[in-house]
Amino acid sequence: MSSLSLDGHVAFDDSLSPFKAISKLPRSSRLVSHYTPRNIWDEDTLKLPKSLQNYRKMLRQFAQSTLAPAALSGDIAQHLPSGETHTELVHILSSAGKTGLLSDQLPAPWGSMKAINFRHSLVLQSCLKTEELFSACAGYGLAISASGLGSLPILLSGNLSSIRRFMVPAYKASMHGDAQLFAFAITEPGAGSDAEEGHGAKHAKPSVVAKKCTGGWKLNGRKCFISGGDIANNITVFAALEGEGMESWTCFLVKKGTPGFKAVRNELKMGQRASTASELEFVDVFVPNTHVIGELRQGWALNRATLNYSRMPVAAIALGIARGAMESAINFVCHYKVAGKALIHYQEIQLQIAQMIAETSAMRSLIWQNAEAMVPRQGKASMAKFYCSDGAIRVCDMAMDLLGNQGMLHKNNVEKCFRDTRLTQIYEGTNQINRLAVIEEYQNEFLTLGDQPK
């Protein structure tokens, strides 16, 4: 497009342009009113501290150069039996490892995070990471970021020995290109939401049970929908102790190849298809006492703390996918012509683009504002998660509509974005469960209010 202005707007150098007009105000006025418009991504990046600006730039560079070119083919690649991996995914995981994206929960030399970045919250950095990765490809983005979710219970256990024994060797291997992944296994065939909500957990019958044996524990049962469960080297498995309920949940680290442990199948998913969601089977899987993460019966706490850390990045996942859809749609309307004019010149198109920019900006503001806290709060994390994932669906709908009858073509990316983002309304607790998590956070306030006279 070479036009100096879009239809319905004045050019930047027109005397009626607000930018031109304001630039002519006296210097003292200009100091508080004049600016030069920047592109959306740069404008947001500049709001971050310098070290995070660089981090965001690095993430974008990796996502756009490594994930984006493989996104469409990864989405329609043949569904493989659990444990088998497409070479493209192996390559991407290896690159992610070398770039430091599989080891960024620990500082150098144990991990890849720059020491200076520890001044900022881990959650905010995770959010920056997921937005960029998922804006390029949700499937590959999940394959990478699921590993960080899997290692969080170890990190949050605060047990330096576990961190040293399990995270550090995996991180070092990953940084050398040999991706050593983690997976987080809480969901059970009979307990989806029950694994993520206290009231439900009270009534749930645990499926995976740990029975005491000499030197450790034997796990039996099944977990389902475990992201990257079939390719992970280390799985943080949450199991109830024999004869007890969910309050006895304990986190066990199960190593790939342990006898009795098997990924029995990978799900055929609607989207995020370049990553796997596996059903895991445990038949008398021996876990030594040394592989218990945290203390016995601390699993519920580690699970909920992990979810507080991970739900905000899921909000950013939704944002990233929505941004990917928006960018594809903007690219389309700037190139595709109707009656000799690029679509972006038409007012009905401009209205929808503006709405998409507003929706994604609102999501980013909510995330960045709340993710800055060093201690993530359940209510804030959950509200960001459901607000952003609902908003992302609206943005993807608009992106598909903007492409019109070409919106349903896989090659145009936006339909993939819709399929990908639909999962964000479900995983890490359905949006209904996340709404209830907000209420749980503030229940004392409501109860106190209820006790007071009207």
Binding site: K269, G271, V338, G340, G404, M408, H410, R422, L436
Partner: protein, 380 residues
């Protein structure tokens, strides 16, 4: 004139239900296993033999055999709705086939071998949207020079701006073209005079493909071409869009009914927090919205079949705009009732979501339909 009577509908629909149970359901029972083109073709032949599709037998019961008749329209929408309760892709293929046959008959391009499945398809839409206001202005007979420029581009089907059709493989195409007098005519084109690309991975309609086609300007083989008057052209296209609107709405209607029944069934079994999920207000409110919309969609389709609505493309466009947007929200709510399992292809509900998105984008998105209606109602 149709000989169809109200009392004929129930036995016809019963027969079609049996066809669906015996022939269609076994093929599409496993949602993650996509019916092959051969299987869909075989179903189409059965539908043709049963008279669900027009085989030239003048039975008066086929889809879109006599859309001028109210009862025929009601029957056609109910047949499509029934089919889409089982499978949207197959319902759409039947609609597309019936629409093509209707247009062929209107244009006088009668087929001879009626027992063989016709492999002509129809390209209803230009390369993008609904030509903003210009198509509505054309149909209303109030085109400006700008409108003619837009329409010329809209129906151009060049390599840079190809058009799309959805369905099984085809060997001839009925496509609109703007003639030198500014009248929309119809051409029957052979595949060897077209660039065409098959896309097997579209958003929905897994059973059929999306085809992109454009004209090869120096090798245009036109098998047949109409030479109709401006009045005939407008009437034909208005009718075609009206029938198409009814078809797409009834397919969406059937599919959300299906989504509701799937969600209700699952929620009555699945336990969370010590009780079946259907007892949780979070799920009840989702289901209530789906349920209400099933009711509303039924009323909308019935209302769209009435003569007043059928003859008012502006109203039909607004109905479609609303129905498809709401249908997408409803089936999304239905999926949400399933939690994680709803995201898996073998469950089937995610397919209904994709199919409804696909329906929303076909032949005018909600925004495009609103612009069309605005021009039709002469808001400007």
């Amino acid at each position: 004139m149709s000989n169809l009577k109200q009392e004929d509908l129930e036995p016809i629909l019963d027969q079609v239900k049996r066809f669906i149970e015996q022939d269609v359901e076994p093929i599409v029972a496993q949602h993650e296993v996509i019916a092959t083109p051969l299987q869909v073709k075989s179903l189409m032949k059965s539908a043709l033999n049963m008279g669900i599709l027009d085989g030239g037998f003048d039975m008066g019961i086929s889809i879109w055999e006599n859309p001028n008749d109210h009862l025929s329209r009601v029957l056609s929408t109910q047949l499509l709705s029934l089919l889409s309760e089982t499978n949207v892709g197959i319902a759409y293929q039947c609609h597309q086939y019936a629409l093509t046959q209707w247009l062929r008959n209107e244009l006088g391009l009668i087929r001879e071998n009626v027992d063989v499945l016709d492999t002509t398809t129809i390209s209803i839409q230009g390369h993008y949207g609904l030509a903003r206001y210009s198509l509505a202005n054309y149909l209303k007979g109030k085109t400006t020079q700008d409108d003619m420029a837009v329409l010329s581009d809209y129906f151009n089907a060049s390599e840079l701006s190809p058009c799309h059709v959805h369905g099984l493989d085809w060997d001839t195409l009925l496509a609109p073209v703007l003639d030198k007098n500014g009248v929309i005519q119809w051409q029957l084109l052979a595949t060897d005079s077209l660039n065409r690309t098959e896309y097997k991975h579209s958003h929905g309609f897994d059973e059929i493909s999306t085809w992109q086609w454009s004209r090869i300007t120096d090798n245009q083989v036109v098998i047949n071409e109409t030479s109709i008057t401006p009045k005939e052209s407008k009437q034909l296209l208005t009718h075609l869009y009206a029938i198409n609107s009814l078809g797409l709405m009834s397919i969406a209607q059937g599919s959300i009914k299906h989504a509701l029944s799937m969600a209700k069934e699952y929620c009555s079994i699945r336990v969370q927090g010590g009780k079946t999920v259907i007892n949780h207000p979070a799920v009840q409110t989702l289901l209530a919205q789906v349920s209400y919309f099933v009711y509303m969609a039924n009323i909308q389709v019935q209302s769209a079949c009435t003569r007043d609505a059928f003859e008012d493309l502006g109203i039909l466009s607004l109905m479609r705009s609303n129905l498809h947007s709401e249908a997408c929200k409803a089936v999304n709510n239905a999926l949400q009732c399933f939690g994680g399992i709803g995201y898996m292809q073998d469950n089937g509900i995610e397919k209904v979501v994709r199919d409804n998105n696909h329906l929303r984008l076909l032949n005018g998105t909600p925004t495009e339909l609103k612009l069309f209606a605005a021009a039709w109602e002469n808001y400007a």
